[in-house]
Amino acid sequence: MQQTEDLSFSDFIASSIHDMKNSLNIQVGFLEHLMHSYHDKVDSSTLDQLGHTIYEAGRMNVNLVQILSLYKLGNSIYPIDISERSVTEVLEEVVLQNQSIMKHKGIEIIVDCAPSHYWYFDRDLVGGVLVNALNNAYNYTQDKIRIAADIRDGQLEIRVEDNGKGYPARMLNENVDCNKGINFSTGSTGLGFYFSSRVAAMHKNGERQGVLTIENGGAYGGGCFVLTLP
């Protein structure tokens, strides 16, 4: 009995989120339109505010997409499409989506991946994971982010590294997929990590399964977000 109630509640939430996402897209579309039509007609501080509003709306959209995807993955109705893709292309697209805001904050971001790397994954899900990782890095880095990919031990390893203080020891000792990150006072919901580890686990090849890990160090000695796909 309990279970059916849970199910109908999550169905209800999912359909509301779908609706919210549509409204949000119309808002973002209009804001982009404003930005486009008025960028040479208004002062720079108004433009900055508009840019930040679009960024916040984008963050909201990312969260809604994650919740909706999790709902669909949970019910095995996500249209998953694991196919061979250029790794560089996906990394570059993720950077493209965040370029203006990074530039605005003076963050230098580099992509480090051989163009000859092709791998099997769902473009939208992995893109979503990386956008989320980049958002985190954006919040914690001083001024540098590196997004790199290589093939190690027959698996694809994608790393998002920053030059911030790194993850606190408490987080490194926990499983990242545990929902312990929820903290209403800091605004950290843990949703991003949960989503990311679910997506990692959706990628399977033979006996192997994708994993998400976090560590400190990397090229800049800061936090590292590591997605490994078989």
Partner: protein
């Protein structure tokens, strides 16, 4: 010739004016100058039919009426757009039909909202590059030079690229369409050994199905669905396979589950209705046909067979009045469509007869006879069998037997069709007589064919051609006869030189063969030979 992005003639389809002007703004700053825009599906199709576009950017959800997917299907179906047109779907949410199923039904790519200029530009540039690289392959496929197309695919596949999967799919489809199942099996098996990929496993299942290895095909389709229940293309093939295995009830339940997961698939809804009718699940058949009619309203898959199917269910369920109402709707929806008129007339005859109105039943039947005689189209076996049934009912035994014989002659190698003809004879209470007629008709076809082959072997092509041409009048849909006639024409031309009229006739025959039996083994060989022959002076 694929042109560059900035030179391309572009159409933007979105129901929101602000979205259209935003995307047009993006395009302008990419250097695109030739841009049209529309807000509804109707306007979009009107424009697509009258003007050539190199790039279409289309919103998936357009409110009332057709959605973006249905516009794409109709535009491809009616050849408003060709292989070189880049179709980009813009959508709030990813759906299966954007990357699954037949190439004709898929957009080149989709972009999730919100759309930014950087993303749009990056994707479009890549798509134009991809079109350029694949152009030689598409050209070879279009001119039906499959062997050459396969060679081109293999050359490009030698180095991994962004097109690898596309090339693998094209190569696999070419091997399957040209009936080279052994090579297709090796190729797909090789891919599967490296990684378990749903489309590869599904394609291998298709090869097994087409080689009539139904048990192994079933196993593969079931595996795909177990691993990924949203991969519904595998469900469609599993249903077909179960049907071929005689597991009709299971086929129906597979389609029912698939419909629950993806409720807007018109063709699958029709398949479900047909399966339910076959199983005698009349209530389900009725509701499935009704849904299929509703779904098909804005689709190119709108089909008179759906209306005829619903009418048949209603007739069987003792509601022939309602059946006639549906059929009169079908008449007005499919004006000037001879094949539709034939299906409608046959279903009307069944309904009138059920009402006890023998006179009207006869009138409808006569209309059907006139249509089947005049029809250039290939009439479905189901419609022909229904017609024979009515002839028996109305005491026209001889005509019915003649019609059933023609079904046998046209399908003498198709066991499931022969089985249905046998059942039709049994239902008319002439099982033994029917069996003898089936054997006689089959023997006639085989004898004529052997005679033709013998004449060809002696080099008497002209005589062979006369014989088969005459025989084809009695069995216009027999693909074995058609390919043999083609072979003899090619033989004649080898000896006496190219003849434009013969080339044309042979080409038309092969077109029909590929429609009637897409996996005819000689089809590919003859298409290649004809292609070479017409290229010489």
């Amino acid at each position: 010739m694929t042109i560059s992005l900035s030179q391309s003639s572009t159409l933007v389809i979105d129901d929101f004016q602000s979205m259209r002007s935003m995307i047009m703004g993006f395009l302008k700053s990419m250097g695109v100058t030739n841009i049209s825009n529309v807000g509804t599906a109707r306007e979009a199709l009107e424009l697509l039919s009258s003007k050539k576009f190199d790039l279409v950017i289309c919103d998936y959800n357009l409110g009332q009426g057709q959605n973006g997917q249905q516009i794409l299907e109709e535009a491809r179906h009616k050849r408003y757009i060709g292989h070189s047109t880049v179709w980009m779907m813009v959508t709030a949410e990813k759906t299966m039909d954007m990357f699954m199923g037949a190439a004709e039904a898929k957009p080149d790519d989709y972009l999730l909202k919100p759309v930014t200029e950087a993303m749009l530009s990056s994707r479009l540039n890549k798509l134009f590059e991809k079109k350029r690289t694949l152009e030689p392959v598409e050209k070879a496929v279009k001119s039906r030079n499959y062997a050459h197309a396969i060679k081109l695919c293999e050359a490009q596949l030698a180095t991994p690229s962004a097109n690898t999967q596309e090339l693998q799919r094209i190569k696999s489809d070419l091997l399957i369409n040209s009936g080279d199942f052994a090579t297709a099996k090796t190729f797909l098996g090789g891919l599967l050994a490296v990684r378990n990929i749903p489309w590869v496993k599904t394609s291998l299942g298709k090869v097994l199905y087409l080689s009539k290895d139904y048990l192994k095909a079933r196993e593969l389709f079931e595996e795909v669905l177990q691993e990924n229940k949203m991969y519904l293309e595998a469900a469609d093939w599993l249903a077909k396979t179960l049907d071929a295995l005689g597991e009709n009830a299971l086929a129906q339940s597979v389609l029912e589950k698939a419909m629950a997961l993806s409720p807007n698939a018109t063709q699958r809804q029709q398949s479900l209705a047909d399966a339910a009718l076959k199983n005698g699940a009349l209530e389900l058949a009725q509701s499935a046909y009704e849904k299929a009619i509703k779904l098909g309203e804005f689709s190119v898959h709108k089909n008179a067979a759906t209306f005829a199917g619903l009418a048949k269910v209603l007739t069987v369920q003792d509601d022939p009045e309602q059946a006639l109402k549906i059929l009169s709707r079908s008449r007005s929806e499919f004006k000037d469509d001879a094949a539709a008129a034939l299906q409608t007339a046959v279903a009307e005859s069944l309904a009138h007869y059920k009402l006890g109105d023998t006179e009207q039943a006869l009138v409808s039947l006569q209309e059907a006879e006139a249509l089947i005689g005049a029809s250039e189209q290939d009439t479905s076996v189901g419609t022909t069998l229904d017609m024979a049934h009515m002839m028996f009912q109305l005491g026209q035994k001889e005509k019915a037997c003649g019609l059933l014989e023609s079904v046998v002659r046209n399908n003498h190698e198709n066991r499931s069709v022969l089985q249905r003809v046998e059942t039709a004879f049994e239902d008319a209470g002439m099982a033994e007589e029917g069996l003898a007629l089936i054997q006689k008709a089959t023997k006639e076809v085989i004898d004529t064919n052997n005679q033709g082959v013998a004449l060809a072997n002696e080099g008497k092509f002209e005589e062979g051609i006369r014989l088969i041409r005459k025989a084809l009048q009695a069995m216009p849909n027999n693909d074995l006869m058609m390919t043999n006639l083609c072979g003899m024409m090619i033989g004649t031309m080898h000896r006496t030189g190219k003849d434009d009229r013969m080339l044309f006739e042979a080409g038309e025959l092969l077109e029909r063969v590929s429609r009637i039996n897409p996996v005819n083994k000689k089809y590919h060989q003859y298409v290649t030979l004809l292609g070479k022959m017409s290229a010489t002076d």
